[in-house]
């Protein structure tokens, strides 16, 4: 009895099967866009509580009208100048925080007419109901950009080049970051920075 040869399986239709699967996946799946500006909405204040009065100099008002024009601190402004204006306002450090400490890390002009301390500085964005969403996002983007600029600057100063705020944030949110010690360390460092420049952007209700 000679050894019988097993006939080769015909693999010619393999390509067809693979194509079929490929087309199925092409049709049923999409590239998901899951990135954006993360924000926390302000909780609704309980009834009977009056909001604290904020000094005008600690408030940076950005108004966007229905023609998508910007009015920043009573002056018309181009979007591209908004980030620098916000940085100047936040980094001013003209006074002291609630505890009476001056801002030691601010590099601003210490103008007594502008914000006292990054802790007290609030940016208020108001828009019309007719404002375009894209403009709103652009404004938000510039303001977050101003905060990120200041936070990065302080983080690099304190922790070195590899630990800028945005970099720490991206490491932390990466799904492959599982090292507990690293996570704790990063969270700690980020909290320090966040305390220096707390994000205070108020998205007030739209006006008609």
């Amino acid at each position: 009895m000679g050894r019988r040869n097993i006939p080769e399986v015909n693999a010619g239709s393999m390509a067809d099967i693979a194509f079929l699967l490929l087309i199925f996946f092409l049709v049923t799946t999409t590239f998901e866009q899951d990135e954006g500006i993360t924000r926390k909405l302000p909780p609704i204040p309980p009834e009977g509580v009056t909001p604290p009065i904020i000094k005008q100099k600690n408030l940076f008002t950005v108004l966007v009208n229905k023609n998508n024009d910007l009015l920043v601190e009573e002056e018309v402004m181009d979007l591209k100048d908004l980030r620098q204006a916000a940085i100047d306002f936040l980094d001013n450090g003209g006074g002291t925080n609630e505890k009476g400490e001056p801002c030691t890390y601010c590099q601003g002009k210490k103008n007594p007419e502008s914000s006292d301390h990054p802790n007290k500085a609030i940016i208020s964005v108001r828009n019309d109901r007719e404002t375009e969403y894209a403009t709103f996002i652009s404004v938000q983007n510039e303001l977050v950009g101003a905060y990120n600029f200041l936070r990065d600057r302080e983080a690099v100063k304190l922790f070195g080049k590899d630990r800028s705020f945005t970099k720490m944030d991206s490491i932390l949110s990466h799904p492959q970051t599982t090292d507990e010690n690293l996570i704790e360390d990063l969270k700690d460092k980020m909290k320090t920075i966040k305390d220096m420049y707390p994000l205070k952007i108020s998205e007030a209700e739209t006006s008609n």
Partner: protein
């Protein structure tokens, strides 16, 4: 002289297709890994504005989606051309957001994510802020405060190029 048989002219050897399955499989695996299954059919325009100060949402994050934008052409004669909200795959009214949010939370995610669930606002760039403000107000009322404005990665000055 049989040793020097004349080659028949004009006959090319057939191209081997043995590697074709491998190539197709490669493509297949690429699409399987980088894409996700369609959640909902978009009935509204979804051309997001550009921003560059963005954070990525991970696939494992508890996310609830709310779509808004101008209805696509096929639906405009039924619902009009004003920007609309889409929940799951239906057009919805602003008042339905709260129910939708809790339903999605309880059935898809689990009630334990009540305080960490992120609401992704997938809003078309040409929507007016009134609608977005209404959505935000409704989310505030149910204390769903973590939101994410979905954007495309790019310089925000691109938002003004028409």
């Amino acid at each position: 002289m049989s040793k020097f048989k004349k080659k028949k002219s004009g006959e090319l050897p057939p191209v081997s297709t043995a590697a074709l399955p491998d190539i197709v499989f490669m493509l297949l695996f690429f699409f399987m890994t980088v894409t996700t299954f369609k959640k909902d059919d978009y009935k509204v325009a979804q051309k997001f504005p550009y921003a560059d100060q963005i954070q990525k949402l991970d696939k494992t994050d508890p996310v609830i989606y709310i779509y808004a934008g101008t209805p696509s052409k096929n639906y405009q004669k039924d619902v009009g051309s004003q920007p609309k909200i889409q929940l799951n795959d239906k057009f919805a009214d602003v008042s339905e957001i709260k129910d939708y949010w809790f339903n999605t939370l309880n059935t898809d995610l689990g009630p334990e994510f009540r305080n960490v669930a992120i609401t992704a606002l997938k809003v078309d760039g040409e929507t007016n802020m009134g609608l977005v403000a209404d959505i935000k107000q409704n989310l505030r009322e149910i204390n769903a405060l973590k939101i994410n404005y979905t954007t495309r990665n790019g310089n925000s000055s691109k938002n003004f190029e028409k």
